[in-house]
């Protein structure tokens, strides 16, 4: 090599190295395995607090290695909306989920936004029998393409366990077990049963479950009827029922539950294992399986026997809860049966006073233990590709126990002091999960821990429909019906707008709503006026602003929107939320009231108040990631020819 060549090489080499280096920087190092933990409701502020207190050492280690980011959530920041945005990398304008519930514009009847049952088209009737000639099916209402399709198309194995808003599963080549949005066997989001002979417990209230009166025949025997799903193979679809005998020994303070040839004995204060139920649609020919757990709340002086909602049996699922079809039963064989319903923690039973704080936490602990066993199993078999695992416990338990950490909650002082540390304990448990995932990491593994939204107190309830009526946007024709659901009190001809669901406000638009009163050309001006009025509402008790932002949907989401989309999304300020009465279309007397329900934490407010979090073993290169960026960013960690187009790869220099 002569001097000229040496000088040329000396000049070129650093440039080449620089170019190579730049290339490496702009293309992240490909990995073989990515673990994503979906922790519903993990809050940025609480997380930082507990990390600073030393409650979350594993999380602290992860953050030190990679990063902790506040991540923008969906609008509205409701779990079905946010997780749909995660799955599809897009907003409601694409995936079509705007709220937990949507309404049929013509009838204004609400329905679950994420899935629906399509009845068989052809049915052969023979006497009382109704034999379907075409199959009934459950339809996923979420639209858009899951981000992992790009991964499976390119040979990356993908497991999505307890995936929210994916019932029935839209697998796109992945192993999928449905999570949030999966109904119980009756088709509801969870309906408990309390069998009791205590007249004080018996009410007509059916929200979240039913109280079934039973009586002691004088010999310690109670005949209980377990009501299952409707029998669509019979005329008028009667409920399928299973008789159960409950024998009690008040001296031993124990009960024996005899069902379908099997006995389960429990002492007062004990939870049973899973008990299998088989409901026969046509005896010996067609049946559906369910599973329940019993809890003997009290035996003496009165029987109080709680039964969980009837979960779809993962060993023999009556509805499609997984893909491939044997996944749920394979998992059940490995770790035992588990809650399959999307909302496994029975928050309604706590709200109704059927379970007390301690009993609810026991049930929630059972759910969490099952989930941990599933997680451990999945982690043990995870060799390559993407593993997403979802935990619901933080979300549902903080909904119920935010009162324990918020001195401003109307229920703070009455909360049992024994459970005031429950939120901290939950975060510590999640920290253990993060620690286990970190143990499973090797040099080719990345770990991402994400939530879908944060949390805020829910101390004051805003009765949106009452406010609309008081401000002249809605006309109440029947004052005695104000407390009834589904707008029974409304005169639609004089109503311009109504609230339904947790954040949704609809115009009573003529041509869209039946009997609509607002001409379409007046809608834009009306929405502007509503926005201004809503954003100026203050709480008479404190003078605080109730609504941080009222979003006109067509301005927030580009492109044409479906007719079921709300016209406005109400973003409540911290401390406030739509009342339960608003979600069902009734008109209480006062506009703002104290929230006295144990459901004391919320995220169904303005998205800026409840951002989600992202913890990652690799530091993101952008400061304000969005939940819609997750799919592209996860795919970008693998060495793939193609990645999803939606979103920004938060780990790639080039995209920043």
């Amino acid at each position: 090599m002569n001097r000229r060549d040496f000088l040329r090489m000396a000049a070129v080499t650093p440039a080449a190295l620089l170019a190579l280096n730049t290339g490496c920087a702009s293309r992240t190092r490909p990995v073989r395995r990515v673990i994503v933990l979906g922790i519903d409701g993990m809050d940025h502020f609480l997380l930082r607090s507990f990390m600073n207190e030393g409650v979350m050492p594993n999380t602290y280690r992860l953050v030190s290695r990679g990063g902790l980011s506040r991540m923008r959530t969906s609008n509205p920041p409701q779990s079905p909306v946010a997780w749909s945005s995660f799955i599809t990398g897009s907003g409601p304008e694409v995936h079509g989920i705007f709220d937990f519930v949507h309404r049929d514009p013509e009838t204004r009847v609400p329905y679950l936004s994420t899935s629906r049952v399509v009845e068989p088209e052809k049915v052969l009737s023979i006497g009382d029998l109704r034999l379907p000639l075409t199959g009934a099916k459950v339809e996923l209402l979420r639209k858009g393409v899951p981000f992992w399709k790009k991964l499976t198309d390119q040979g990356v194995p993908v497991s999505m366990i307890k995936l929210p808003v994916d019932f029935p599963p839209d697998p796109c080549g992945a192993r999928v077990l449905s999570g949030l949005g999966t109904p119980d066997l009756r088709g509801s989001q969870g309906s408990f049963t309390l069998f009791t002979d205590d007249a004080r417990s018996i009410t007509d209230d059916t929200s979240g479950g039913v109280v079934v009166p039973v009586r002691d025949y004088g010999d310690g025997r109670y005949n209980c009827t377990i009501r299952g799903p409707r029998n669509t193979m019979r005329a008028e679809s009667p409920y399928m029922e299973i008789p159960a005998e409950v024998w009690v020994d008040r001296v031993a303070d124990a009960a024996r539950i005899d069902i379908q040839g099997s006995s389960t004995m429990l002492s007062a204060g004990e939870w049973s294992r899973w008990v299998e139920l088989r409901f026969e649609a046509i005896p010996h020919l067609s049946s559906v399986s369910g599973i329940v757990r019993f809890y003997v709340k009290e035996i003496s002086p009165r029987l109080k026997l709680y039964m969980t909602p009837i979960n779809i049996d993962p060993m023999d699922p009556a509805l499609p809860i997984c893909s491939p079809s044997g996944l749920s039963s394979d998992l059940a064989r490995e770790v035992g049966r588990y809650f399959t319903q999307g909302f496994p923690e029975d928050t309604k039973a706590l709200s109704r006073g059927i379970l007390d704080d301690e009993e609810y936490l026991q049930q929630a602990w059972i759910v969490l233990q099952e989930r941990l066993a599933l997680f451990e199993h999945e982690l043990g078999r995870f060799r390559e590709g993407l593993l997403f695992f979802y935990f619901s416990s933080l979300d549902l338990n903080i909904h119920m126990f935010y009162r324990s950490i918020d001195p401003a909650s109307p229920l703070h002082d009455s909360t049992d002091p024994r459970f005031k540390g429950s939120v901290r304990e939950l975060y510590a448990t999640i920290d253990g999960v993060i620690g286990r995932a970190m143990e499973a990491m090797d040099g080719n593994t990345e770990l991402l821990v994400m939530s879908d939204h944060g949390f805020a107190p829910f101390n004051r309830s805003f009765n949106l429909n009452t406010w609309l009526a008081e401000e002249g946007y809605a006309s109440v024709s029947s004052p005695q019906s104000r407390g009834r659901d589904m707008f029974e009190a409304l005169d639609w001809s004089g109503t311009a707008a109504y609230g339904l669901g947790l954040n949704s406000l609809y115009l009573n638009l003529s041509g869209r709503e039946q009997g609509g009163a607002v001409p379409p050309d007046q809608a834009p001006a009306l929405l502007e006026r509503l926005k201004a009025d809503l954003e100026s509402v203050t709480d008479p008790a404190s003078g605080r602003r109730v609504i941080a932002n009222a979003y006109i949907t067509s301005e927030v989401f580009p492109g044409p929107l479906p007719p079921y989309a709300p016209d406005m999304i109400v973003g409540y300020d911290r401390g406030f939320r739509a009342s339960w009465e608003t979600t069902l279309g009734s008109f209480p007397d006062e506009v703002v009231t104290d929230n006295l329900d144990p459901w004391s934490g919320t995220h169904c407010i303005d998205p800026s108040v409840v951002p989600c979090v992202l913890l990652s073993s690799r530091k993101p290169v952008i400061d304000d990631p969005d939940i819609r960026d997750m799919g592209r960013s996860i795919a970008g960690l693998f060495d793939l020819r193609e990645t999803p187009e939606a979103g920004i790869d938060m780990f790639a220099e080039g995209e920043a």
Partner: protein, 271 residues
């Protein structure tokens, strides 16, 4: 009867012994295939093979007759009537082998039910035990329960109306396990660690003569004052084959039938 029962259990234990260290499905598959082949052998030995061949030829002709005279309803009806008669004759010919095989089949069914329908008690899980007294149940505090290999979980509850007492057991040390209730000693759940061994689901101090068909019930000596019978609420069991979950009955029926048909074809046995 007890000696016959002991011999039968020992016979099946011996057959399944080589499969004891494999997953239970292998033992069940072996028994199913062997039973299918055994049944077809017995069928050949006791059935009227000539008669069956003759009948089959006749039935074939009758079916052909129906097909050839499809435009003549009277003739079709005549052939159909003959076909029904031939079918009846065929069923009569099957009666003898079926009768010969009925008792062994029932014994086999009982053995398989005892061995493959439940996975027995699992560690950490509680099993509810209910014991039946002939007359009045003694007071709970005077009922003596001891256990080996399992843990008795208090309390003990009494259901006077049914003359029953119930308590729970928790698997701890693995088999063999047994319980003694007021002097009546009975085996509990699996008494053997090998797959395909009998899982006891109860006990009886006064068994019926059909005890040979119920090997899952432990025949015990009554103590006069103690319970006359008892049963354990054990979880069921199924088997994963071809990505589906099969009950032991389904495995047995499908695989024994496939083996029998294959055997009949190979050995040219007319069925």
């Amino acid at each position: 009867m007890r000696h016959i029962s002991f011999l039968l259990n020992g016979f099946f234990d011996m057959i399944l012994y080589p499969f004891g260290w494999l997953p239970p499905i292998w033992g069940l598959l072996f028994i199913s295939v062997a039973s299918g082949l055994g049944m077809i052998f017995v069928f050949r030995a006791v059935s009227d093979q000539e008669g069956i061949a003759r009948l089959r030829r006749r039935m074939g002709g009758e079916i052909l007759g129906i097909l050839l005279h499809v435009s003549s309803p009277i003739t079709v009806l005549r052939f159909a009537g003959r076909l029904i008669r031939s079918n009846t004759s065929y069923l009569v010919l099957l009666l003898k082998p079926l009768l010969v095989m009925a008792v062994p089949f029932m014994i086999l069914w009982g053995q398989l039910d005892a061995r493959f329908s439940s996975s027995g008690a699992q560690e950490g899980f509680q099993v509810t035990v209910t014991v039946q007294y002939a007359e009045e149940v003694p007071p709970a505090d005077s009922i003596e329960i001891t256990a080996e290999g399992v843990l008795v979980v208090p309390p003990l509850m009494v259901v006077d109306t049914l003359e029953q007492a119930s308590f729970r057991l928790e698997e701890r040390n693995g088999p063999p396990a047994c319980i003694t209730v007021d002097g009546v000693r009975a085996g509990f759940a699996g008494t053997d660690t090998r797959s395909g061994s009998i899982v006891l689901r109860g006990f009886d101090a006064d068994p019926s003569p059909l005890v040979l068909l119920t090997p899952m019930v432990h025949v015990v000596e009554g103590s006069g004052e103690g319970p006359v019978s008892g049963w354990y609420s054990l979880p069921g069991k199924d088997f994963g084959i071809f990505g589906m979950h099969w009950s032991w009955e389904a495995v047995f029926l499908v695989f024994s039938m496939v083996a029998a048909l294959a055997g009949a074809r190979i050995m040219k046995i007319r069925v």
